[in-house]
């Protein structure tokens, strides 16, 4: 039936037909307009923070290793401390979000490749101690070889730490997350890079922060480009990203990320103050992106349209 396609292009228009209150939309059926899916029970700040801090930590570990290899001790130290601090807070947010926090260790009761949260827990169980060892060795100025090894191992795990959370979100029935399963890891990789670059710009001296400035630009290009590609390919289920609070958050994220990267590239060398402004913008942009993606997914689960219409279209396409 061709009735669905045209009717949904405009988005958000369906409440306009006041006279058909009992039928939420002429173009698709639902049970009293109620959602089909259960929306995620995750708390916005806990899980938004967990996503943001994980990205910040993972990409910071890469900066830390690069700084170590290129003899930039100050950049290395802030990146190591940033990674250790961010991943600790990320773990705390994850545990705080559990319905039964005291049972957190049950995550490590099994090894389950079909569960991104299980594999992620194992990944963090390996990664978090490495970042702490790297930071502790650097700050203490002792056990340099062990510290360097920990820095290298943390950097090897960093990309996985920054991207597995995209799989975690996409591996659900939530329409606007699942439909982005190809691009979302790239969005999160870019967002992790901009966050780590932002932290480094905020905390490292200007003369060592060159790689962070370049990482800000490259990360911003990856984040914004992958995000636009994602929503451009999604069809109907891109709507939740383009309406209401998620739209505000995501537009803000884009402005902060692009602006922060541009400022870092153009003026980041001119002084700590400008670099700090750029860094703060990049950190805030990354956080806004995570919160926006989170809220868009929740919104897509709350409206039966995003569950029913794409599935109907699939059935009709299959004949």
């Amino acid at each position: 039936m061709s009735r669905s396609r045209e009717g949904f292009k405009g988005g958000g228009r369906r409440r306009g037909r006041g006279e058909r209150a009992m039928v939420p939309d002429a173009e698709f059926s639902s049970y009293y307009g109620r959602p089909i899916l259960k929306k995620p029970t995750w708390k916005l700040l806990d899980v938004g923070g967990y996503l943001f801090l994980g990205g910040l930590a993972g990409a910071s570990s890469l900066l830390a290793a690069g700084a170590q290899l290129t003899a930039r001790p100050a950049l290395g130290r802030t990146a190591k401390v940033g990674a250790a601090g961010a991943i600790s807070l990320s773990l705390a947010a994850l545990v705080h979000d559990l319905g039964r926090p005291e049972r957190f260790l049950n995550m490590l009761r099994v090894i389950k490749p079909t569960s991104p949260l299980n594999l992620g827990s194992w990944l963090l169980a390996g990664y978090a101690p490495l970042t702490m060892a790297a930071a502790a060795a650097d700050v203490a100025g002792r056990y340099r070889t062990a510290g360097a090894a920990a820095t290298g191992c943390a950097a090897a795990l960093g990309p996985a730490v920054a991207t597995y959370t995209a799989v975690l979100l996409a591996d659900t029935a939530v329409p606007s997350w699942h439909a982005g399963h190809r691009e979302l890891p790239f969005v999160f990789a870019g967002s992790g890079a901009t966050a780590a670059a932002g932290w480094a710009l905020l905390t490292a001296p200007v003369d060592e922060a060159g790689p962070a400035r370049r990482m800000a630009v490259l990360g911003a290009v990856l984040e914004v480009g992958a995000f636009r590609l994602m929503t451009g390919r999604m069809g109907l289920v891109a709507e939740p990203y383009e309406e209401g609070r998620p739209r505000t958050l995501l537009r803000t994220a884009e402005v902060l990320t692009a602006g922060g990267a541009a400022l870092a590239a153009c003026a980041g060398r001119r002084g700590r103050a400008l670099a700090a402004v750029a860094g703060t913008a990049l950190l805030a942009g990354s956080a806004c992106l995570r919160l926006g993606v989170f809220r868009a997914g929740v919104a897509s689960a709350e409206d039966p349209k995003y569950t029913v219409v794409p599935q109907r279209e699939r059935l009709e396409a299959a004949g």
């Binding site: 259960k38 995620p40 995550m107 299980n118 995209a166 029935a173 003369d207 060159g210």
Partner: protein, 288 residues
């Protein structure tokens, strides 16, 4: 064939896969199933709202509602029939399902106990498991309330119970099955709308019932969730419906999310590699 999933889950010599066939064409909306489920499983109260949704104040499945009877009042032709020629229809007035006539659809919804269960796949603790009967059950002494199963379920069945923190859903009365008894809802159903038994047998019975209804002129009768070729590998609890699934609040073509998981990991690996390359590129030119 249908006990393969229990074998795959590590059960040696499992009994036949058990399930529900809910024939909504004979449901009278008495809600005895809801009450029996609550009583047997000691499921707590789930809010006492007046919704205005026909006779349905239960609203939907959830952590503390494991059977839910939907009520749909239709005064128009069922959705998807908007191209019906009314003059043709008027000529056949003696046939059933005359457009404009009031009809009530009632349907007792329940966990589908999917062949490929997303809740079970994504559960990080192994709390959700496949029983020897091929059903999907939460172990409440293991669940740490991570909530991952909640958005993973394509049917919106499982949920986290406020105050308790853990995830809960229908167990297909695992305790009763172990004693050779049928689940409480099926036992209480006065019209045999809820039928319990080995899944193979239920599928045969359901096919016969659809043929019978079609022969009697109820051409809208269709099975939902019985096809092992669907996106969840077929449901352990399937239905006979009289309208499109979404009218009952069911997804028309659910797919287990983990079907795409290998592709997701591949893309995440590529994204991780991009991030590493991006970091290397950031250090290539020294600007000191």
């Amino acid at each position: 064939m249908t006990d393969d999933i229990a074998r795959a889950a590590g059960h040696t010599d499992p009994p036949p896969r058990m399930g529900f066939f809910t024939d909504t064409s004979v449901c009278i909306g008495c809600k005895a199933c809801e009450v029996a489920c609550k009583e047997w499983n000691a499921v707590p109260e789930d809010g006492l709202d007046l919704t205005g949704m026909s006779y349905d104040n239960t609203q939907g499945l959830g952590a503390s509602t494991w059977r839910h009877v939907a009520f749909i009042e239709q005064t128009a032709p069922p959705a998807g029939h908007e191209n019906v020629d009314v003059f043709d229809a008027a000529r056949g007035l003696s046939a059933s399902d005359t457009p404009g006539e009031l009809r009530w659809l009632m349907s007792s919804d329940v966990c589908k106990h999917c062949t490929h269960a997303a809740c079970l796949d994504v559960c990080p603790t192994g709390s959700l498991f496949r029983t020897e009967f091929g059903t999907v059950v939460v172990q409440e002494d293991i669940c740490n309330g991570c909530g991952y199963c909640v958005p993973a379920c394509p049917y919106g069945v499982i949920d986290q119970r406020p105050g308790d923190g853990r995830a809960w859903k229908c167990t297909l009365c695992y305790d009763r099955l172990g004693e050779g008894m049928e689940p409480a809802c099926a036992k209480a159903c006065p019209t045999d709308s809820i039928q319990f038994g080995p899944l193979d047998e239920l599928r045969e019975r359901a096919a016969g019932r659809v043929a019978q209804l079609h022969a009697a002129g109820t051409v809208d009768a269709r099975l939902y969730g019985e096809d092992p070729g669907d996106g969840v590998g077929g449901d352990g609890a399937f239905f006979l419906l009289l309208d499109q699934p979404e009218v009952y609040g069911l997804p028309p073509d659910p797919v287990v999310t983990t079907r795409d998981l290998p592709a997701m990991w591949r893309h995440a690996a590529a994204a991780g590699a991009s991030l590493a390359a991006l970091a290397v590129a950031s250090f290539v030119r020294r600007s000191r």
